[in-house]
Amino acid sequence: MDAPKVRITMALAGNPNAGKTTLFNKLTGARQHVGNYPGITVDYKEGHFERGGREILLTDLPGTYSLTAYSVEELVARDYLVNEKPQVVINIVDASNLERNLYLTCQFLELGVPMIIALNMIDVAKDRGIEVNAGQLEALLGVPVVPIIARSGFGTDALIDRAVAVAEDKRIWQPLDISYGEDLDGTVMTLMAEIHRQSFLTDTYPSRFTAIKYLEHDDQIMARGRVVDQAVAARVEAQADLVSDHLRKTMGVFPEAIIADHRYGFIKSIIRQGVQTRTFDTDRLYASDKIDKVVTDRLLGPLIMLAVLFGLYQFTFSWSELPVHWLDSLFGWLSGLIDGALPEGLFKSMIISGAVHGVGGVLGFVPLIMFMFFGIAILEDSGYLARVAFMMDRIFRIFGLHGSSVMPFIISGGIAGGCAVPGVLATRTLRSPKERLATLLTVPFMNCGAKLPVLALLIGAFFSEDKARYMFLFTVVSWLVALLSAKLFRSTVLKGDPTPFVMELPPYRLPTLPGLLIHTWERTWQYIKKAGTVILGISILLWAMMTFPRLSPDQVAVFDQQRLNLETQHHANTETASQERKSIDDAQAEEALRNSMAGTLGTAMEPVSRYAGFDWRTNIALIGGFAAKEVIVSTLGTAYSMGKVESRESAPLATRLQQDPHWNRWVAIAALIFIMFYSPCLVTVICIAREASWKWAVFSMLYNTVFAFILATACYQMPRLLSLI
């Protein structure tokens, strides 16, 4: 390598929808990676590129409208700026929506961070008849302003050159003083004096910033203050409270309202000084408004939405079928290869049944997830997703959810046959923490594609006269249970006011292909990395549970003896012999399964599970179903001595169940209800753990299982109680 390069750290900040991601992608290309801030789920991206012999490290901060303590995104952005102290902050500002965007700029100026403004979308602004004088804005704000068009790359070279100049300039950045009117300015001065005298939090924040945050009643800074110096914190808090009470009593306003009003006053005064000129009437309908007229129309809107959601669903689940099939074949081929290469025995069984199937299980979802994220990226980048939230909010709010919850529900199986794994990951589009958690915890109740074979098996066996109606009925039940559970969570463990729906409907935009691809790939890769690491260990563990302890030599000898008898009796008739040999093999497999740890566990659970009508065979299948719901049918097959049962050809098993005296319609309903609602499968649980926390993942395993068991027991016992009376 060459001589060590000078490194410059830059942070990219700005409003959501201001073109931040587009600029980031343009500057860093593929040289970026996604990380998570420890403990929270806000993504941040880092990328690097070279410029004039300097290596530039660029961090993409979450998009925010403000720097309050009310959302994780804002805390992350704020903390990054004060703790990491990037050499320059590139504040991207939407020229077509200048006034609102400058509100955040204003707060960066008050924080006193070295900054440069990227005045983006000057082309869009021009189309709307808005002309922004960058030079005038620069002169009035005292920070460099560079007009750019992030989509085309226009102006980005100049932007970086000037950002480098700011980083290398030794100028001391003074926080901007905005007057908050006579009611507050005096108090701000008094608080500043106290803060300055005691050096209270001054190593992190400018004293004026701290004073303002105390007046805004900022929880994070107040908590930090108490840790640093209890006495000073108490004095500053008391003074701030005094003013706050006074203002509320005399004028009926909150200090934060006065502060916000004055910030906007400051912005308006700047804009009026020749920064912005309108060349034609702004009342004309923008293209976006025209689209919205149709797309959010009272009648057409919901119809279009249904069509779009159905399209996304088709796209995700039908188009991904082929690549899913390829992966299936690949893993089948791999299993075959290992089958041929390794000697018969435990090690081979572990590699094939534990490792290959476990990893195959995770990777099998990859095409599905890629297609889903690609589809969502189109809806998100185009601006349509915000309209879906807008239209659905009224309904989802009833259940304590948010308009944006609709997408995860649909993907998880709102239309039967989805998958909770991409569903859980899709909750990322929700920006309100409690609504997001409630969505995340309830989407596994939907009927995913893996539950469908079980539904088909049991409905086919016991309700064959009207399959479609029962299938539809169970889909409706899953919606009801999911939404009512969300309501229950939001009134108990996730209690709290609804997150405000003050949301932007961004103008419609044509998504760019590189943007979509980067979006899709980074999210898919995160899934592979996160789910892949844990699942291998657990699937081997489940394999071991269903394999050990093995049958004793005596037990094996019994089956061997039967086979020997068979040989001597039917050496001529090979047809009958092979059939009987298979039934002996199947009986041995059943015996081995019953003898295994899972079998012992299944039998041990019988005293409890029989309240819901489940015997040890069902229990084992349910334990297996935790690894993946697909396993339920095949495990039931083994437990009923049917040998290997393919999910798609389960008719013989259905007949077997019909004939079994233990099974009837009520047992079938109880089993269906339990399977629909008990613990999410392993991959989903891991995704919940990554997206929320292990605490919530464990909660969803326990809660769902207990809840499903109560429902199943009710279904099983109700007719008994009624017929007894």
Binding site: E99, D292, P500, E504
Partner: protein, 86 residues
């Protein structure tokens, strides 16, 4: 001129915000999106179930639930029910 709550505004009606009477998170969210006294708002439309409402504010479009719009008072011109189409 008359002062009404933003919830009661009709589609395509415009007005100037006179006050925002709410604090805390909701108050901050409302204000940081530019809904401060002196700002002109126009009702762009309503969701199919009449709630939330879409507003044109400073060249952007915002959404707001009806119960959130209750906190915002708006000054409108008295005679507003003229022609439905502009």
């Amino acid at each position: 001129m008359a002062e009404i709550s933003l919830r009661r505004m009709k589609v395509r009606q415009s007005g100037i915000i006179t006050s925002v009477k709410v604090g805390g998170m909701l108050g901050q969210r409302i204000r940081e999106m530019g809904l401060v006294p002196g700002t002109e708002v126009t009702v762009q439309g309503r969701a199919p179930l009449y709630d939330p409402v879409a507003l044109r504010v400073m060249g952007g479009t915002l959404t707001l639930r009806n119960n959130e719009a209750d906190h915002i008072m708006v000054e409108i011109a008295e005679e507003t029910d003229t022609s439905p189409e502009a």
